[in-house]
Amino acid sequence: MWGIMRQRAVDGGLAASSLRRTRSALVSARSYAAGSKEMTVRDALNSAIDEEMSADPKVFVMGEEVGQYQGAYKITKGLLEKYGPERVYDTPITEAGFTGIGVGAAYAGLKPVVEFMTFNFSMQAIDHIINSAAKSNYMSAGQINVPIVFRGPNGAAAGVGAQHSQCYAAWYASVPGLKVLAPYSAEDARGLLKAAIRDPDPVVFLENELLYGESFPISEEALDSSFCLPIGKAKIEREGKDVTIVTFSKMVGFALKAAEKLAEEGISAEVINLRSIRPLDRATINASVRKTSRLVTVEEGFPQHGVCAEICASVVEESFSYLDAPVERIAGADVPMPYAANLERLALPQVEDIVRAAKRACYRSK
């Protein structure tokens, strides 16, 4: 099967990088079919929203510049033309107001897809995300569920400075009542967003601006309008036996590159793409660490109280006797994001950081 996939990939004339991706394809039940089609994350998100709006008239889109402007990052391109102003709403620049309105609409049974131009602006609306959306089902003993999706770019972009670069995964994922998803590939983007829109609970959907333009191979199955990925399941992007690298979003790409470099040095790394931050797939993570005995966690956000901290705690609690080395955390630097390019590079995880941490876990010197 592996040989057939490779052959098909060659016949499809894929570029070297996507060939590498298919080479490191998963071996789980849902494997890629002949992947000669490619799709950008942007198109994947756009098609997911389009299909869910088509399938369910209760789904509507709301946010700044989502309609006439075609979306600040073009994720909602074409939707206003296709569905009209009663399904796609351009809002004023007032996050607290329109997020509250979105949550209220969800209380009444509609299915809003609320866009934050970046998740930094969601801080203006965080009371509604947490107190009005996340906790409602619980407080009302199940009477009021909130089928809303909050989506938008999260984390660092390129040179956008301290107020526009924060990663909110750890903040939102700490809140019971929320579901928090973070796609990496185009297939992740389609499957997870469709699942999020169909989900009856509030979902925080953390995209990444720098991934929007990246192309990934996509299977026929993933292109089908019924395609959905399960919420709460991580994906093993690359199998390995020496060390487990767990991460999400853009860092998955970095981890895969690190795994390539480690392979050249005889270290076989298993790369896990979380896909879901909350619920966190502790089972997959721990099963992997029980196999490899070593853990490297990677995230872009601030290190203290981060997603990696929770993963490390889970592994130390549940798989302590399987560990052969201390757990490793690679995260954003513990500083507000500087603007200068050289400082920004130091403030974010790089492939060499992941490689170094993996080698440390394998007791290999530099």
């Binding site: 040179g159 603007y339 200068a340 050289n342 130091l346 974010l348």
Partner: protein, 394 residues
């Protein structure tokens, strides 16, 4: 400098001007005269809950010339920034102010450096107006350590505390309560100073504006809220974002004034009026009717939500620099050639500053960890690999 080589006219030669131009038989050299001249604004003020100031603005040749030079410098800076962004020497976001220069210079003419200004991310020209240097601006934009924030802030985060300029804010509307806070401190410390809080039509609907304004009005804070209405909040025109786009009236119980923001003299008059009001009666809103030639930022072409005809129309009829040029020519304060020479000098100033900034070094890696706190407590901070880079904060 060309100016110093020209002879200065003595006061006796000058006659106080009425609104009419001087007879063209009197030819002047470029004047640095401070004799008062009175100019009528082209557009009257519209007021809400107050009596509008007079349309007759007291100024002088020197002041109008300074307007011209300062606005020309701001304009050239923004155009240079456009090129630098396209050359990828400026990264991230870059929000340009060209078209809105009259606001920055008119305001400065009415206030002191003890009065505070706080604004949004469209802050390059405001920084210059507060006495910021071109080379510090370009260095900051290019992420060099010579920058006004040592390269750590970027385009949206210029500051100049010694001139009471409090930045440079990235989150729409956040600067409004902050500005009211500056006014609070001024009143608390019994200073006779005021704060100008600048925000756009996009921010005008933010809830925090109304919350802060309510408190400012209750406590009589010397806060002047200045809505720079350039008619578009990113790609959204005012009619699509505001049920009531009469921003000067949105303060409801707070007085307001609508001002031709492309007329530096009108801006000066309004700010002078507002300062006097705020010191006696608390907050006031100034709505400046202005326009930005560029899109919202360098990532926005600025032409998908407005026509090119509209943009060129404003440039032809309302450009703030052309306005002042016509004034200088019609009042015989300078000749066309003198003004063109001044523009050439400004261009060279800007080019030199860009060249200097390009040569200046990037920040040291150790700067990653500086200015976290004023007072460390032996706090540790970490790089991306916490076992590789761990620092006790300086």
């Amino acid at each position: 400098m060309a100016l110093s080589r020209l002879s200065l006219r003595s006061n006796s030669f000058l006659k106080p001007l009425a609104a009419t131009a001087l007879p063209t038989s009197i030819r002047r050299h470029v004047s640095t005269d401070t004799t008062p001249i009175t100019i009528e604004t082209a557009v009257p003020f519209t007021s809400h809950l107050c009596e509008a100031p007079s349309r007759s603005v007291e100024t002088s040749s020197e002041e109008i010339l300074a307007f011209f030079r300062d606005m020309a410098r701001m304009r050239r800076m923004e155009i240079a920034a456009d090129s630098l962004y396209k050359a990828k020497l400026i990264r991230g976001f870059c929000h340009l102010y060209d078209g809105q220069e009259a606001l920055a210079v008119g305001m400065e003419a009415a206030i002191t450096r003890k009065d505070a200004i706080i604004t949004s991310y469209r802050d390059h020209c405001t920084f210059l107006g507060r006495g910021g240097e071109l080379v510090d601006a370009f260095s900051e934009l290019m992420g060099r350590k010579r920058g006004c924030s040592n390269g750590k802030g970027g385009s949206m985060h210029f500051y100049k505390k010694d001139a009471s300029f409090y930045g440079g804010h990235g989150i729409v509307g956040a600067q409004i309560p902050l500005g009211c806070g500056l006014a609070f401190a001024q009143k608390y410390s019994k200073e006779e100073n005021v704060t100008f809080t600048l925000y756009g039509d996009g921010a005008a609907n933010q809830g925090q504006l109304f919350e802060a304004l309510n408190i400012a009005a209750l406590w009589d804070l010397p806060a002047i809220l200045v809505c720079e209405n350039n008619h578009y909040g990113m790609g959204t025109a005012t009619w699509r974002s505001a049920k009531s786009p009469a921003y000067f009236k949105r303060g409801d119980y707070v007085p307001g004034l609508k001002v031709d923001g492309m007329d530096a003299l009108a801006v000066k008059q309004a700010c002078k009026f507002a300062k006097e009001h705020a010191l006696k009666n608390g907050p006031i809103i100034l709505e400046m009717d202005t326009y930005r030639y560029h899109g919202h930022s360098m990532s926005d072409p600025g032409s998908t939500y407005r026509t090119r005809d509209e943009i060129s129309g404003v440039r032809q009829v309302r450009d703030p620099i052309e306005r002042v040029r016509k004034l200088l020519l019609s009042h015989d304060i300078a000749t066309e050639k003198e003004l063109k020479d001044m523009e050439k000098e400004v261009r060279k100033e800007v080019d030199d500053a860009v060249a200097q900034a390009k040569e200046s070094p990037v920040p040291e890696p150790s700067e990653l960890f500086t200015n976290m706190y004023v007072k460390d407590c032996g706090v540790e901070s970490f790089g991306a690999d916490r076992k590789e880079l761990k620092v006790t904060l300086p």
